[in-house]
Structure formats: C-alpha cells, structure tokens
C-alpha cells in the first residue's frame, strides 16, 4: 500500500517514468513562454559561420561528456531511454500541431494570446527552440548509448535511422543562418548584378545574369462556363473544362454541346459594327481565340461566336449563351517556362545555359532557380525572375537524408523483429 502511494503521488524518485518525462517537457514549454514574455522571440541570425561551427562543436563535446557520465548518474542515464524519447517526441509533436493549426505569419505578430506566446511564429518561439534542442539531445544520447554497445547487423538499421536523423537536424539548424536567398529580376537589355534580400535590401552579387531569351510554352486553350451574374465558374470551384487540342473539335460542358470550328493561337480582335471577330496577329500582345458554336440539349437554345482569353493588350472576350451562362477561356496555363542565359562571375567564368523550373543552374556555390516572370505580360514577358540560393551545409543534410533512407529500407526489409529493444529501458 505504501509502495502504491509512493508510486502514485511522489515524483522524481528513480526510476523516472512518463510523469517525470512529461513534467520536464512541460517545464521547458513554460520556461520558453517566460523567456518569450521577457526577451521576445529567438533570433538565430548570430549563428553564422564561424559561430555555428564553434557552438556546434561545444554542443557535441557536451553531449559526449553527458553520455560518459550517464553510467554514474541515473537522471542523465534516463535521458537516453525510451521514456525520455517518447515524452520529448510527444512534446515536439504538440508544438508542431499548434503550428499546423495556427496561421504562421512570418513577421513578428504579437496579437492575441497565441501571438503573445510566440506561437504565430513558431519557429522562432522559445518553447519550440527549447523543446527541439531537448528532443535532439535525447536523440544524440540514445544514439551514443547504442553505439557504446554496438552489435553488428542487428543495430545497423537503428543506427542509420537515429544517426541520420540527428545529422539532418543538426546540419539544418546550424546551417540555417548561413543560407542566403536572394531574388534577381533580369530584363532583356543588360546583364544584372544586383539582387534583393527578403527585407528589400539591394545587394551586389559576385555573379551576373544576362537574359538572352525567355520562352513560355503553354497548354492548349480551354473553355469553361461562368455564371453571368456572379462571374463564378460552373460548377463553382470545380469547373468543367474542355481542352482544345485541335480544330475542328467537339465536346460538352454541362448541358451544352460545344463545337469549335476555328482555333487561332495568335489573334487580335477586330471590332465591327455589332460584333467582334478575330484575325491572325503575330506580334507582341497576341491572344488565343476560338470560334465556338454551342447548343443546349435541354432548352434547344443556340449561340455562336468568338471566345478569347485576352492578353495584356486585348481584353478577354466571352460568348453569352443565354441569360444565365457565358462561355469563357481562362488564362492559358504555362507548360514550361525557361530562360536562356549567360552567367558571368567575378572570377572570370562565362557560362551559357538554360534555366527552368526544377532545373536550377549551379555556379560558384550558388544555385540559380527560375521562379517567375512578368505575369501581366504572360507569354510576352521580356523579364525573368530568378532566386539565388547559397546553402553551404546542404551536403551534411543530404548525408543525413541518405542514412535515413538506408535505415528506412533496412526497417522495411527486417521488419519489427530485428528492431526490438534489448531491455535497456527504464
């Protein structure tokens, strides 16, 4: 009976269990909240090279020392056990859930109770940072403990998963402040050396981009129906569409049988006395136009005329089918956009390449991404927008990822049997 009461109501008596584990996590969240209220959000900008290498090294030494004295100290030993793992992951999951349920504002937003606690900007809130470091330290201690009694074959998936995750998290955190991302807008006239930071600050780069040519391939034009009064698509949010790949073609949109007799990829409107028709036009600003004949299967109503998506130069042109419904051509979707560029570097390189989405160009430690263009101009855009990213720690992150993928494959192959613990837990 006395034992029962001890177990039930007294804490901090070894062996520690879930109660102590959750209390430690709750303590860290609470400490984080207090720090948030007194000092404001965490700023990790100071973690730039070489400070991150120095502090990272100190942290590793600290963890290794902890791991060695854990043989003698039960509380420290507890940190490398299953209860500490589960409770720290749970606490981290809780904060991730709050983050998932709260709109993250990016800038420091202190409005409302969640803002005051720092949860609207979770990544720089003290609670998140403390719980993350705690979880990562438990992960490190668990890994070191297993390494001390390493058994070949049996422990390999365990090591790949845990060490891989640790390396990934560690490199991601330490490398964060060393990562630079700039935007560069390049016109067709001159090579561009200047890029802008997120804050709007302009920076002169040690490389320049010259835009030789910018191209957009578009998907074929498509038609859909809209409500004449509300302007909303039919059905709302999930419109039926008809893709026009060739002419002549026929199809249906809801109750309307639609046939297309003429497709002009590049056209311009000619305004007549009481109607608008489209003619071929092969200059800047041309828009796609199709000639549509439509008949309603239920009411028998018929309509015919031109439909065009319009461009920055010409307005769009719809065809009114009846009192309620019109047929329109939405802006055409880009299939591929790419920039033909020359990249010059200050150390004398001149690289000719084509940059497109998913195919960044690597130059002197920078990766150049195609991100956008002048959307108002659409396919006639004569500027191209790039993002320049330098991420010197990416190699470590990939190393961790490769270990984790190998570990996951090991987990799949061996299943649960090879992964069972060996009674090392509290």
């Amino acid at each position: 009976m006395a034992e029962f009461f001890k177990k039930r109501f007294f804490m901090w008596k070894h062996p520690w269990g879930y109660k102590e584990g959750f209390t430690i996590s709750a303590g860290l969240v609470l400490t984080g909240i207090l720090l948030q209220l007194t000092t404001g959000a965490v700023n990790t900008d100071f973690l730039q090279f070489p400070v991150n290498v120095f502090l990272g090294g100190l942290y590793i030494i600290f963890i290794v020392v902890l791991s060695f004295i854990s043989n003698k100290n039960t509380s420290i030993r507890w940190l490398s056990g299953m209860t500490a793992s589960i409770t720290s992951i749970s606490a981290f999951l809780l904060l991730v859930l709050i983050m998932g349920l709260t709109r993250q504002s990016g800038v420091h937003d202190n409005s409302g109770i969640l803002g005051v606690l720092g949860f609207k900007n979770m990544l720089s809130s003290w609670s998140f940072v403390l719980v993350f470091i705690y979880m990562m330290s438990v992960l490190a201690l668990v890994t070191l403990r297993r390494l001390k009694h390493f058994r070949w074959k049996k422990d390999i998936p365990f090591l790949l998963n845990h060490l891989g995750l640790f390396i990934t998290l560690f490199a991601a955190v330490l490398g964060n402040a060393d990562m630079h991302r700039y935007q560069m807008v390049v016109g067709s006239e001159n090579p561009e050396w200047r890029a802008t930071e997120d804050s709007g600050k302009i920076i002169e780069m040690d490389l320049a981009i010259e835009l030789n040519d910018f191209t957009i391939d578009e998907y074929p034009p498509k038609l859909m129906l809209i409500d004449n009064h509300s302007g909303k698509t039919l059905p709302e949010k999930q419109p039926v569409t008809l893709l026009i790949e060739k002419a002549p073609t026929a199809g249906s949109l809801l109750d309307w049988d639609v046939s297309i007799s003429n497709v002009l990829e590049n056209a311009a409107p000619v305004v007549g006395r009481d109607s608008v028709h489209f003619v071929e036009f092969h200059s800047e600003g041309a828009a796609a136009a199709v000639y549509v004949t439509a008949a309603n299967r239920k009411s028998g109503k018929q309509a015919a005329g031109w439909v065009s998506s319009g461009s920055f130069l010409f307005p769009y042109h719809a065809l009114k089918l009846d009192e309620k419904v019109s047929i329109v051509m939405p802006d055409r979707e880009p299939k591929r956009f790419a920039s033909d560029v020359n990249v010059f570097t200050k150390d004398g390189k001149n690289i000719h390449s084509v940059i497109e989405v998913n195919k960044p160009l690597k130059v002197n430690g920078w990766k150049i991404y195609q991100i956008s263009y002048d959307e108002r101009m659409g396919k006639w855009s004569n500027i191209s927008k790039f993002e320049l990213v330098k991420d010197p720690w990416i190699g470590w992150v990939y190393a961790g990822i490769i270990l984790m993928i190998s570990g996951a494959i090991g987990l799949f192959v061996t299943g649960k049997t090879a992964y069972e613990n060996k009674g090392e837990n509290d």
Binding site: I86, L97, Y219, S372, Y398, M404, L411
Partner: protein
C-alpha cells in the same frame, strides 16, 4: 482511356478481389492469389491507360491519388497475405479499396491534362506513389486496430494480430520516411529549400512523429495494447489532415506552396 471508362475496369477488379477474398477464407490459396493478382492487373491496366492518354502521370488531383490508393490497398493486402497468411486480410483490403473506388465513380474530381511546371520532375512519381503505398498500408493497420479497440478488450487481442499491426506500421512508416525525404530532395530542386514548414510539410512532420511515438511505445510497453492502438488511430487522423484535411483548414488557406501558383 478517359475517366468515363474507369467503371468498366474498377467493377471487374472489385469482383475479382472479392472472389479472391472469399477463396482466401475457404483456404483455397492458389485460387485466392490468382484472382487477386488478376484484379490488380486489370486495375493497373486502367492506370496505365489513363497515364498514356493524359500524357502525364495521373498523380496530381485528389481523384488521381485515390486511384493509386485503391490500387495499393489490394497490393498491400496481398503482400500481407503472402507473408503472414491471415485469411481475412484480403476482405479488409477489398472493402477499403471499394470505398475509394466508389468515391471516384460518384465524385470524381477534375481530371484535366495540365501539369504545372513545378510538378514536372522525375521526383514527382516516386514521391506520390511511395506516399500512397504508405497511406494504404497504414490505413489497413488502422482499420484492424480500430476493430480490436472497439470490439475486444486487451486480453483477447492476440499476439499475432498485434504483430501484424506492428509489421504494417513498420512498413508504412518506412515508406512514409522515404516519401518525405524524397520530397525534401525534390523541394531543394524546385523551391530552393528542402524544408519550408509549409502547411503540408508541417502536417507531414506531425504524422511522421505520431508513428514514431507508436513504434517507440510498442517497444517500451509491449503489454499496454489499448494506449498503443489509440496512438495508432490518432496518427492516422493526422495523416488525413496532411493528405486532404489541410484543404479545409483555415490556418492553411492560401499559404501552401503545395498548391503551386506563380505569384
């Protein structure tokens, strides 16, 4: 091949799978295997057909991911049947697949040909297919877990059933991990960063953490089945939010790069 022809492949597949499940119950193993595999092949033929006619992998819309989900459920069921010989597993996978097929027949989403440039990558197909396989396996584990949590008390859950659930979760979590990491590598090439805490990523992390808690807890307290099953089911709820729930979450509206737009 269009979405209208789906029913002519889906219904024969379901009939073949149901027949396979029936013969599995009757301990006619060879017949069960042949019928289930034939059903899978018929379904695969439809996926191949729509892939060719769309001129892109059918992985973009919700309807298309459900298509893969209903394909992988019988595959996962068959693998489990071959490996651990549970005769009821094929019935489970058939019923689950049937539900998703029905949704696709009665409420298909827009299946047009366009694929935005960000999705045009060799990483696209493996990323989504691996995730869908993982979701299918974890879905099967959840249904079994739910059944035992509601219908039985701790003592009557047999070791072998728990072992099956654990194995499914291990396989599912392994694929979840690989799918997530492939996504990270792809994100680096497409968006410039491997992890941006975009709402989809945040919920993917939450889902992954949920299954980590399950696997660790099972190792720590192998006798405490009820708690483990609750964690299993909650993790699957997180998975649902990640898969399609974020489309409805106010906190995720208009901020996800996973609905790639050019502005």
């Amino acid at each position: 091949m269009t979405w209208e022809t789906f029913i002519y492949f889906a219904i024969p597949s379901v009939i073949l799978w149901a027949a396979g499940a029936y013969f599995a119950f009757r301990d006619k193993r060879k017949l069960a295997l042949t019928l289930t595999i034939t059903g899978i092949l018929v379904f695969a033929a439809y996926i191949a057909g729509i892939w060719i006619s769309l001129e892109r992998p059918p992985l973009r819309t919700m309807g298309e991911t459900r298509l893969w989900y209903s394909f992988f459920l019988p595959v996962a069921g068959l693998m489990t049947y071959l490996r651990w010989k549970y005769k009821w597993i094929l019935s489970f996978s058939t019923i689950l697949a049937f539900v998703f097929i029905l949704i696709n027949i009665f409420k298909p989403e827009i299946h047009n040909k366009t694929l935005m440039p960000a999705l045009q990558s060799p990483w696209f197909a493996p990323h989504v297919i691996i995730y869908m396989f993982s979701y299918a396996v974890l879905g099967a584990a959840t249904v079994i877990g739910l059944y035992f949590l509601i219908r039985k008390n701790d003592k009557s859950i047999s070791e072998s059933v728990m072992h099956l659930i654990d194995n499914l979760v291990y396989v599912g979590t392994a694929f979840l991990t690989i799918g997530m990491l492939i996504g990270a590598v792809w994100a680096k090439d497409a968006w410039g960063h491997y992890w941006s805490w975009d709402p989809k990523e945040t919920w993917a992390a939450a889902t992954w953490l949920g299954y980590l808690i399950y696997t660790h807890y099972r190792n720590h307290k192998p006798k405490n089945l009820r708690n483990a099953l609750v964690v299993l089911i909650l993790s699957f709820v997180l998975l649902q939010v990640c898969w399609y729930g974020i489309n409805y979450l106010p906190s995720a509206q208009g901020v996800s790069v996973h609905t790639y737009s050019l502005d």
